[in-house]
Amino acid sequence: MTADAASPPPQVAGAEARRLADWVFRVRELGIVAAFALLMLVTAIIEPRFVTADSLRNLALNAAIFAILAAGQTLVIITRNVDLSVGSVLGLAAFMAGDLLSSHQSLPIPIVILLGMLLGAACGALNGVLVTFGQVPALVVTLGTLYAFRGVAFLWTNGRQVNAETLPDAFLNLGTGSILGIPTLALIALVVVVVVGQALRDFRSGRELYAIGSNPEGARLAGVRSERRVFAAFLLSGALAGLAGVLFTARFGTVDATAGASYELTVISATVVGGVAIFGGTGSVYGAALGALLLQTITSSLIVLKVDAFWQEAAIGALLLVAIAFDRLVGLRLDARLRRRSVRRAG
């Protein structure tokens, strides 16, 4: 279909518009990096202990779990859906991992991780089936499973708690150890983010997720198997929440039925702060992971600066609003600029 070397390619007029869009996209992620750097700098000046190796390690460990959750959440949000159940799925997987290892000390860690991800995937599959084949809005489905999965966790734990003492050391080392000075958890999160990020960028199925979120009906008409793709997004989000659950246990050692409660709100906030549009179609896993890092840094720095807990929550709320306002503003500006070019071209 590309033959017919017709007239020489005419002067391309939209190049400027493309550069503009590219630039906005980069500015979005650079903005988070800049905010992150500024925050680090200010906190470090007021409280130098904030940038000690130990404190930075803690920061990376805390952000790692959220970054993994944010990667999964991005897959779902890009399709114009949302997964509110990730905190509960994390809790289930965390308790399962702790329970298993307490009673079977010799169980290989990769098997535990795999089981955690399978459990998460099963939860995600339930969400996916209800959303795609049940045709129920994701907000309602995952709100329901948020409570349902948490309820299962309470039934399962039956008031019990897993303690670090009962867990094998090798497993706990996964949560606290490091490779070449970098915390293992952060490395795992980095691998997850890069793999998911590149998959979204470079594979047909990844691009189809964007298409579904950008125009669901259009995607269907273009021959995209939307149900299958959305189902897969929920499945993966669940599996990653399962992985995050196992890592949660390795990191904290102590797990009860409330592990990961209200994480879903932090994760969605991180994703949105990271530039993933809540109505789908735009954003990247990298942005979302940066958003998770920024949110975690704010929390940590406010603690270090001994700011009241109330203000910590308010600060995260404010950041979310700033990010949304910024997106809206830039979006309007971009629309206006693209419009002007378009008119000039057509005239």
């Binding site: 390619p9 493309r18 047909r204 964007y210 298409a211 125009n215 008409l221 021959g223 600029r337 057509a346």
Partner: protein
Amino acid sequence: MNADATPILELDDAAKSYGAVQALRHGNIALRPGEVRALVGENGAGKSTVVKLLGGVVRTDGGRMLVDGAAVDFHSPTDARDAGIAVIYQEPTLFPDLSVAENVVMGGHPLGALHRIDRGKMHDEVQALLDRLGVRLDADRPVRGLSIADQQIVEIAKALSFDARVLIMDEPTAALSGPEVERLFGVVRTLRDRGAAVLFISHRLEEVFALCDTVTIMRDGEVVHDARTSDLTPGEVVRRMVGRELSALFPKEETEIGGPVLTVHRLTREGVFTDIGFEVRAGEIVALAGLVGAGRSEVARAIFGIDRADAGHVEVDGVRLPGHRPLAAMRAGIGFVPEDRRQQGLVMELSIARNATLTRMGALSRGGIIRSRAERRLARDWASRLQLKFHRLDDPVGFLSGGNQQKVVLAKWLATEPKVLIVDEPTRGIDVGTKAEVHRLLSELAGRGVAVLMISSELPEVLGMADRVLVMHEGRLTGELSRAEADEEAVMRAATGQIEEAAA
């Protein structure tokens, strides 16, 4: 062309109904290799249903569909695509957040090593396709912000991006300019010569006769005629479409023209239009003509206060309107029928009655509660006045055909008894019969003293309806012609900017 060849795609006595509405009966149509077939009929005749069946969007209730003579059943658009069927739908199906290139190849990205998308190849293929269509469009820019004409080009490129054996085009030319249409026809003829089958749907009969070898005519959900184009005349086609002879397409009444009602004073919106000034008098129909993208719709939007004007103002009956306030414009007596009735004119999910009375909610409610009986009474009244063809007033307005949808939009505004009515492309995508009704309606309104500002890309409509013609080119007024002065050539000269100095 070979009339005996096995059709690539065929509907055999197909039937389809939506709820109680039988949209298609005895649907027989055969698309043969090397043949361009036209599908014509009034809106609501069942053309779109045929397209949706062939494209795998909906499934038949009865009859058979055959590919290469073998019965098939498409469960989804993917199945149709796999069978080599490409469809250009009337509704926009683009992804605004993605680049032009990705929009074109979606579902069939060129792949490189490890099944990764080969971006370089994707870009080159799409750019080549765009060049072949003769448009200056960067394959890497986002679709968001493209003009309607450019969006249409992307739709076409999308359908041409894979080696289709059957190409179905549902009104692909509605937003295109002359040269763009010619380019498209060139591409279609190349496809035909390679042995593809093409189904072409258009309301422009001159295009049908210029491009198509055969024609299928539909009326009221049935195929009523199937013939070679060379055996028919445009008049015969229209007669078979409507089942009657059309007497006057443009029933312009002579009216008494009063004083100015709408005055637009040096209106400017940066980068879109500049220094627009004119007036519309009571009982006058003023047409705003120009090429697609000249800024006409944008002027209308600014007058009604949807978009903010950077300079200038609008007066109704000598009273200045606050800018950027559609509600104030409505209160001052302006009605606005927008270009895109699906997105802007109607709430597609709401019922016919609700849509028709949206502008009158204040008057219909008592203590903030809408009286549904009054609502239905008003809706029924307007439905009968405009001869609306509907099943039930509670049906979603999306169930109606395009022409009848437009009547609902008109009813919505006429119910406010406007002093000024702005209509943007009032008959786009509307069948011939309803078109005449819309024209008669506009003419009647002017006769009752309403000032009508009509934006139209169809020259016959402009010349037939308007008392005065304003022409825009690249965001500026480049011509003002009286009914006597206005002819095709004069309007086109101003629209292409050839008499800019003379008009300034």
